[in-house]
C-alpha cells in the first residue's frame, strides 16, 4: 500500500512539470539561412512574451521548400519566392517575414568604405570578366577623385546555393540584359569568372584575404566584419550608400499588391533607394493537419510584426511595413483552413 502511494505520488510529481511545460507551445520551421539570425532572436523573445517556442533549422531555402512540401515542419522559409503553380500544387500560402539587403564589398588598397562608386552595369561587367582591372577606364570614369590601382579584379561569389546569390543575380539580370540572357538568376549559377567561397562568412573572409577582391554579402556581415562597401547607382540615377535609410527607402517603394506577396524590391524607384533589397518568405500549409500548431505559427509572426521591428533593425534587417503586415493577416484569415474547414486565423 505504502509502495503504491509512493509510486502514485512520484508519478504525479513527474507529470506536474510536464503540464507546466505544455503551455510553451512548440513550432518548428526550416529553410533560409539568410533570415536565420532574426528568427532566432524573435524566437527567444517570443518565448518569454507569448510562450511560443520556435525551433528553426537553417538548412537553406531549397531544403525548407522540400520539408514543407513533405509537411515535416510547421512552416518553411525561402528567400526566393516560390512559383505560383508550385504553391498551388502543394497547397501553400506564401507571405513575407522581413526584408534584407545585399551589398558589394571590396578590398582595394587605398580605397576606403563607400568611396568606390559602381553601377549595376559595371558590376555585371566585372562578374562577366569583361572588366578585369581596377584601373579600367570605365571604372576610373565613374570614380573621379578616387585613385584606383593597376590591380587585377578578383571576383568572389557564394559557392553554395543561396538566397543571397539569388537576390544578387536577380539584380544583375535586372540591370544588364546581357547578363540575363547569358547567365540569369538563381540560387546558384554558372559564374563566368571568379572564385567561390562557402557562406557569407566565407565570402567576407576571402575578400578580406585577397587584394583586389570584390564580393557580395548580406549587409549584416559587411557591418559586422567592417568590410569596405561600395556605393551603387540606383534607378533614379543617384549614387547611394548602403545604409538603413536607403534600405527603408527601397522598401517603401515596393509594390506589394502582386499575387503571393512576391514583390520585387530589386532596383526600385525612388531617389534614395538602395537597389539590392529583398523580402524573405514564409511558406505555410493552407490545409494544416494540426490547426493549433498552424495558429501558433501565425501568432508568432503576428507578434513579430508588432514587436520584432526593433530587433530586426538591430540585426540590420528591414521590418515589414504595417500595411503589408495587415494584408498578410487578412490572407491568413482568408486562405488557411483547418481540418474542420474553419479559418484558423484569428485564433479562437
Amino acid at each position: 500500500m505504502n509502495r503504491r502511494s509512493f509510486l502514485l505520488a512520484s508519478g504525479v510529481a513527474a507529470l506536474l512539470p510536464l503540464g507546466a511545460r505544455a503551455e510553451a507551445a512548440q513550432i518548428t520551421g526550416a529553410g533560409a539561412t539568410f533570415p536565420a539570425p532574426v528568427y532566432a532572436k524573435w524566437g527567444e523573445a517570443a518565448q518569454a512574451a507569448i510562450g511560443i517556442q520556435l525551433n528553426y533549422q537553417a538548412i537553406g531555402s531549397g531544403g525548407g521548400q522540400n520539408q514543407i512540401v513533405n509537411r515535416t515542419v510547421d512552416f518553411g522559409a525561402s528567400d526566393a519566392p516560390v512559383a505560383a503553380d508550385r504553391l498551388e500544387q502543394h497547397g501553400l500560402l506564401q507571405f513575407p517575414a522581413v526584408m534584407g539587403s545585399v551589398v558589394p564589398i571590396v578590398n582595394i588598397p587605398g580605397v576606403g568604405t563607400d568611396q568606390l562608386r559602381l553601377t549595376g552595369e559595371l558590376l555585371a561587367e566585372i562578374y562577366a570578366g569583361r572588366i578585369s582591372k581596377w584601373n579600367d577606364p570605365r571604372l576610373v570614369e565613374a570614380n573621379r577623385g578616387v585613385s584606383l590601382p593597376n590591380l587585377a579584379i578578383a571576383p568572389v561569389y557564394r559557392a553554395d546555393g543561396s538566397g543571397t546569390t539569388f537576390v544578387f543575380t536577380s539584380y544583375l539580370s535586372a540591370v544588364s540584359p546581357e547578363w540575363q540572357r547569358k547567365v540569369g538568376a538563381n540560387t546558384s549559377i554558372r559564374w563566368p569568372v571568379g572564385n567561390g567561397a562557402r557562406g557569407n562568412d566565407g565570402v567576407a573572409g576571402m575578400v578580406r584575404n585577397t587584394r583586389g577582391a570584390i564580393g557580395y554579402v548580406e549587409n549584416a556581415y559587411a557591418t559586422r566584419n567592417r568590410l569596405a562597401t561600395a556605393q551603387l547607382r540606383n534607378k533614379a540615377g543617384n549614387f547611394v550608400r548602403p545604409t538603413m535609410e536607403s534600405f527603408r527607402a527601397a522598401a517603401a517603394n515596393a509594390d506589394w499588391s502582386v499575387p503571393h506577396f512576391a514583390a520585387s524590391l530589386i532596383d526600385t524607384n525612388g531617389a534614395e533607394s538602395w537597389p539590392i533589397v529583398s523580402p524573405t518568405f514564409i511558406l505555410l500549409p493552407k490545409n494544416p493537419q494540426d490547426a493549433a500548431r498552424s495558429a501558433n505559427v501565425m501568432k508568432f509572426f503576428d507578434w513579430a510584426y508588432r514587436n520584432g521591428g526593433r530587433m530586426a533593425a538591430e540585426l540590420e534587417y528591414i521590418p515589414l511595413p504595417d500595411e503589408v503586415a495587415d494584408a498578410v493577416r487578412a490572407a491568413w484569415g482568408r486562405e488557411v483552413k483547418g481540418p474542420d474547414g474553419q479559418p484558423v486565423w484569428p485564433p479562437r
Partner: protein
Amino acid sequence: MSQAAATSAAPPLPARRRAGKAGDAAFALACHAAGVFVLVLLGAIIALLFAGGWPAFRAFGLAFLASTDWDPVQEVFGAGVSLYGTAVTAVLALVLAVPVAFGIAFLLTELAPAPLRRPIGMAIELLAAVPSIIYGMWGFFVIVPVMAGTIQPAIIDTIGELPVVGALFQGPPFGTGILTAALILAIMILPFIAAVMRDAFAAVSPVYKESAYGLGATTWEVVRHVVLPYTRVSVVGGIMLGLGRALGETMAVTFVVGNANRISPSLFGAGNTIASLIALEFPESAMGSLKLSALLALGFLLFALSFLVLTISRWLLRPRLKG
C-alpha cells in the same frame, strides 16, 4: 544443473554437443547475416544512387560524363569539371604525400635513434586524428593567405614565365585553387600512408635485413632491395587508402578549392570536386529537380571511381603476389 553436470566425473558429452551445435548454428547464422547485411547495404546504396541519378543520365546520356557544363539556370548539368577536379587534386596530393610519407617511414624504422621513434610516431598518428574541418579552416585562414601573398606570386613570376610548364602556374593569385586543395589533401592523407608504411617496414623480419647488411649493403640498398620488395603490397595498400580518402574528402577541399565549375589549365585556377559540389549544392536542390538528380548521379560516379581505384590496385598487385 549444467554446473553440476560439468563437474561430474562422466561428462555428458551428447548434451553439450547438442547445445554447442545449436549455438554454432546460431552463431554461423548471425555471421552470415552480418555478411549479407553488408552486401545488401552496399547494393542498396548503389541502387539508390543510380535510381536517383537516372533522370540525369537519361537526360544527358553519356555526354554527362564529359560535359563541362554546370548551369543550374538552364538546367544543363555535366560531371566533367568535378570529375577532373577530383582526379587532379587526388593524384597531385599523392604525388606530394607519398615521398614525404616514405621519408617518415624510412626515418622511423631505419634512421631515427630509438628515443625519437615514439614521439614522432605518436605525432603522425595524432595528425591522422585531426578532423577534416580543422584542416579546412586552417587551410583557409593560414595556408591560403600565404599562398596568395608569397608563394603564388613568386611562382607566377618565375616558373609561370616559362614556355610550356608556365601554363600550369598562371592566373591571379587567389590563394585558393587546385594546387592548394591538393596541398591540404596531401597533409591529410600523409599520416595514413606513413603509418601503413612504417608498420609494414617494421614487420620485415630482421633476419633478411641483417643478412643484407652482412653482405655489405648500405641502409638505402637494404630498404631499396630488401624492405621495399618485401612490403610492396602493404605500401601500395597504404597509398590506395590515402587515394581513397583524397577522392572522397569534402569539407577541407570545399574551403580551399575555389569552387568554380570551370576547368582551368592553371593549377592556381579554381576548380571543384565531386564531393564538395554535392555538399555545396545539395541544400538548395528541390525534390524531383534535375539538379538533385545530377547530384545523385555525381555521387554514383564517385562511388564508381572509388571502386575503380580499388580494382586497379588489386589488378596491379595480382601478378606480383603470384611471384
